[in-house]
Amino acid sequence: MTRLYGAVRVLLILWVVVTVVFVTLRLTPGDPAELLLGPTAGRQDNAERLAEIRAAYGLDKSIPVQYGIFLGNLATGDLGVSNRSQRPVIEMIGTAAPVTIWLIVLSVTAAVPASILLGTLAAERRGSGRDATIRTVATVFIAIPSFWLGLLLLNWFASGLRWFPSRGFEPLLADPLAFAAHMTLPVLTLAIFLIGSFTRFVYTETADTLERDYITVGRAMGLSRRSILFRFSAKNSLTPLIIVVGVEIGTLIGGAVIVEEVFGLPGLGRLLLAGVMSRDYPVVQGTVLIITLAVILINILSEWLYRLITPQARA
């Protein structure tokens, strides 16, 4: 029963989202057919061509009818065809998604161990200079505008020192070294924000944990500092961190959009921005739908994982 309830809820949320996207796009000034034809669209002899394009993309129908067709296609899993490139939207998303997924997965993978180390070290000596330094750095990390940081890294390490290529992407399987070189700076940019956010979280968790009785007992039994901090305490903060990663996934995708733009990575963010600028309705609708679906599913998945590893939360 609760599962059905959950599924209805997800569907309702998706419906609200796609409807908002549909309405917002139709409110956007700029006729997609005219944008497609380019600067000659206003000429008299092009009126017929415009009508043809509108008919081909269903833009000649009234907005409620367009909405009905759009929902009907969605129900059958059809995201439509791009107004610009004529390619199926699902295919374009399929090409772009791996870039964004790599960016997010690598950033999270880099940020989690660093944050556990920093957060634990700060919480171990609360009120010390080390604590204050780590927490100030963490707060500054979340406060840095990510595109500004990206440009700074780009100019120092790519344009200046030439350690890394400045823009673009290379698939992992095609050329692993080039893949690593292209991903280093974008991942670093995103990871710095994450380290700030996760460290603050691990700190609060660990500060609580270290005051628990079993830690005191462990100390009295003569367990080493390292095993208390990292075998017992850090393990405790790792679990709720899964929830935080799940909750932050929306923020992460937002960050990825900006980072992709700075480093010219052909991911979902760039696909979406290009779609918005050229009024490519199917691309924007499809990308937003897929991203939202991913956010919802990851949220559910992280909650499920959390329940799986913490028996107390199963109730």
Partner: protein, 289 residues
Amino acid sequence: MAGADRLGAPAGAGRLKALLPRRPGSILLCLLGLLALAAAVAPSWLTPYHPTQIDARSLLQPPSWKHWLGTDELGSDVLARILYGTRLEVAIAMGSVALAALVAVPAGLLAGYRGGRADYALTIVADAILSFPIVLFAVMVVASLGASLGTLIGVLGIVFVPRIFRLVRGQTQVLTEQGFVRSARSMGAGTGDILLRHILPNILGPIMVIVPQLMAVAILIEAGLSFIGLGVQPPQISWGSLMLVSKNYYVSAIWYPLSVGAVTTIASAALVFAGDMAGNAINPDRRTS
């Protein structure tokens, strides 16, 4: 005499005194806040330069006694441009959060207290907005309605609503079950009375924790939108638009992008710290600073 003085002081003054910042961190934050407000209200008091004053003889000058943060590509004083840009940042940060609170606080109180269908519907709308990455939502709406101060405040206001709503709803649910609320109800207090006099005062604390943090997000999103060309348009100056222009001078005039970025970072970090301090103040046994 001093003792008599203290005794004679009205209770109100003692309460106000308790609000005065004591620790160095909070004093610094208060000073920064006052500086930001002063720059927003009267930037001309803080700098002798005009932000659009063009000086062809001093383009992209490094920092000096005359121009503390150097000059930009048109010879204008960078510090003056940052100070004049503060007004827009303050307007965006305060406007969006105020707008969100205006909607989210009553909705959260109602949903948390009443439950039922209204709660279900409001929660679904809130979850829908939450599952929409802020940046994506802002890009779509700003692209369709055009970049202006009003649109920015509106968009950020909308995305902040569910964040405040969930907090208020959760707190209200907990408080509704507590003794003092039950007893007020049993003594015949009306819904409005309970919500406004018994529940609202108790959730102001948590709201004061989230408000500065959302303001920091507002400043960062404004910067991000400006970067992808969806920020306020000239001649309006915002920190985001300054960052966009300064991105061409990372090599030739590094202090220019550095100072604009540093100011933005300091402002949003200060807001996050302010939220942390508010959190410590309402939660003394879980102090984190």
